[in-house]
Symmetry: C2
Subunit: 442 residues, 2 copies
């Protein structure tokens, strides 16, 4: 293949009307329309494109699309080699774009958009070498992998040389671990049974079906009302029995003292973790909660904005589980930084997923974490939600409660061409039809 | 006046080509084009409008404008009374809009946009009662003022009843303090002399002129190169003498250990504070720096995203000066929350300003802080930068190094009508002319 050059970029606003069925409803997000700011990097090679997306839940997705467009332009004209040879520098040029960093920095809209662009570059890289992303990652030398990471603001807990040493120390057994993943996959858990908007009967029958399918870990949403939380926890605990693990997710609904009180009240149902008990920005608050509700573990991450917040959550012993998000962080490079810090602090990485595309992304990240970084699946489960996978060319595959290893080249996020047309917002056929229907009903 | 109802809203993209002269240049932002996402709330009352803006430095300002438009729509159709009677609930409805909170939450683009809309409501309220914003604030009862604040995520350090008590305890002397402000104003400091892009000679002559004008506190930019920082610190220290105060601002350029080392090297120039020594997200990092460089105080805030981060900076003894930003925080309501927490922890509030409009905003906030909340100017100085004031109908007034009390009704941010036309981006005359010139030069 001749030199691969990025010749153009598109950013598309895709939205799925999930609020109709209250899929994904929780205490803070009652009516999400799962959405994606979807980036395509075109190249000078016929048929070779990099695809990436960032996930949002509806209104404001257009802001991420506009930001992704500005950032993707910075890749246009560059060669793939030129980018990945000093990937950390390219990453920083996006994450700290001199004018746009003011409206972050490294957080919110601009950082979500950074993820879409950066992940599209990784997809392009993986496709160009004919490997699934996870395989590309585990085949990099320790030095190569570490060279993709911007260590700004984390050198007080992890220096590049230490990271290289940590990766080198995992060389033994790496080939065996890769075989493990190819043979049996990575343990997962399901959130599909416990959405807040579902009735008790629906939760009960979903739990029973999931037990049948081999699931061992179950998560429910809490936080809207304590009496309601107790009732639903009892329904789930009864349906899954005492041996399977029950996790709870408050979606940031509580203040610090409230979280402590409520989790003491819910301890009777033996939760393994409480997820997002309070503001994702409250490192010291999470640490206070963690100290007060042991042995229940505190988990957070889906809205933790960047590596600097994860660094502190780890420093402060605030989390027992690190739930990094493949789009909230600025793409693979920053996910690797967080995975390495988590390894350093011996905290399991249990990535956030669901939404649209997040399961596809993390099926790669957990494989790489197991094979090259952590070397274990102990106390580790990756989230799985069974929504919207039909839109991907190579949807993630779950079997008996485990993510199977992706086999196709790329980062697995490329959507079906018809989805890109049908769900385009606001003018694609799905949305145009809804506007017509809304007009007729008036 | 009959019931005031908000009947419509506009959001305008304004940009000023400040990068031409490197005004505002620093180690992280070499070429800012000072910009504003400017909101106008129209009403059913002839001539009565609420104006508010959020400040950015160029690219991406359109994202804030788009977000402000979405959020401002939530005010349209509401009465002013209906909003301000339960202002905390209205504030939360914007800051936690169920779909848009995903792309924050309460940070970055959406939170900057929240400030523009919320500040426009305060401007409208102040104009409707014929008072400058600061006077409206100090005339509210403690209960009324506290009712504007959303205490979510801060009740572990401050409860509403405690806040009311703190304000009640300041009733004695309040009338006298208001007279003080009207007579002499609030102490300020200047940043105009020390921009990183200026030559030593320019810095020297600007310092000499500022001493003549009565300034007592001077701030310089550091962080690009230590040898350069030493040289420039020596220039400024020599120009202002040993008695006046010198502050340093690293604009987030350093990692934690680097900040400690560099400030030990710069201690010889007797800095009063080091501002933004590292990532604005690094609460524990600021605390480590603060412990290591005493008696130099650590200051930060212009990019601290919300009250939750300020809460922790205060809890962790990480800052000696609280530099809240009137646009970075979600408008007056959240600024009040931070000012009350700072009072609780006995940390001086020294607001960030500069940019466009920030000096106008903070001239109101520091008056209210002194009269109703802190009751003192000890160790307090408000930032002043002498750029772009000519665009406001009632620019802030500085006399002998002090902000004079604003006298006109409103929050002081209403711009001249011709500015709104001339600097509109990208089609206003100033920008259209530049595009023509750029085209001709090609």
């Amino acid at each position: 293949m001749s030199t691969i050059r990025i010749t153009g970029a598109d950013a598309i606003d895709l939205r799925f009307p999930t609020s109709d069925l209250r899929d994904g409803s929780d205490a803070m997000h009652p009516d999400p329309d799962y959405s994606a700011a979807y980036v395509v990097l075109r190249t000078n090679q016929p048929g070779l494109e990099g695809h990436g997306l960032t996930f949002t839940i509806g209104r404001g997705n257009d802001l991420c699309v506009a930001a992704a467009r500005l950032l993707a332009d910075m890749a246009v004209g560059r060669t793939l080699d030129g980018i990945v040879t000093d990937f950390a520098a390219f990453w920083r040029s996006l994450a700290s774009e001199p004018q746009m960093r003011w409206i972050g920095p490294e957080k919110g809209v601009v950082h979500l958009a950074t993820a879409a662009v950066i992940n599209a570059v990784w997809d392009l890289w993986a496709k160009s070498v004919g490997k699934p992303l996870w395989k590309l990652l585990v085949d990099l030398t320790p030095e190569e992998l570490v060279s993709t990471i911007d260590f700004r603001y984390i050198t007080d807990v992890l220096q590049p040389e230490e990271a290289v040493g940590m990766l080198q120390s995992m060389a033994a057994g790496k080939a065996q671990r890769e075989e493990d993943m190819l043979a049996t996959g990575y343990p997962a858990y399901t959130t599909s049974a416990g959405w807040l908007g579902y009735s008790d009967d629906k939760v009960r029958s979903l739990c029973a079906a999931a037990v049948e399918e081999g699931w061992t870990h179950f998560k429910i949403k809490v936080g809207a009302d304590l009496a309601d939380d107790r009732r639903r926890a009892a329904v789930v605990r009864e349906a899954i029995g005492p041996a399977r693990r029950l996790m709870m997710d408050a979606n940031q609904r509580w203040d610090v003292d409230e979280a402590i009180d409520n989790m003491r009240a819910l301890a009777a149902f033996d939760p393994w973790w409480i997820e997002e008990p309070t503001s994702p920005d409250d490192i010291l608050g999470h640490a206070a909660i963690a100290r007060s509700i042991e042995p229940i573990g505190v988990a957070t991450g889906e809205q933790c904005q960047n590596r600097v917040v994860f660094k502190q959550l780890l420093q402060a012993n605030a989390i027992a589980f690190c739930q990094l998000d493949s789009c909230r962080l600025g793409g693979v490079n920053e996910c690797l930084a967080v995975m390495l810090m988590a390894k350093r602090f011996d905290v399991p990485v249990c990535p956030h997923a669901g939404g649209v595309g997040l399961c596809e992304y993390i099926s790669h990240l957990v494989m790489a974490d197991y094979v090259a970084i952590s070397g274990t699946t102990e106390n580790r489960v990756a989230e799985y939600v069974d929504h919207l996978h039909e839109h991907f060319l190579e949807p993630c595959v779950i079997h008996r409660g485990r993510y199977l290893a992706p086999r196709q080249p790329g980062y697995g996020i490329t959507m079906r061409p018809e989805t890109l047309v049908q769900y385009a917002y606001p003018h694609g056929p799905v949305w145009a039809a809804r506007q017509l229907a809304a007009g007729a009903a008036r």
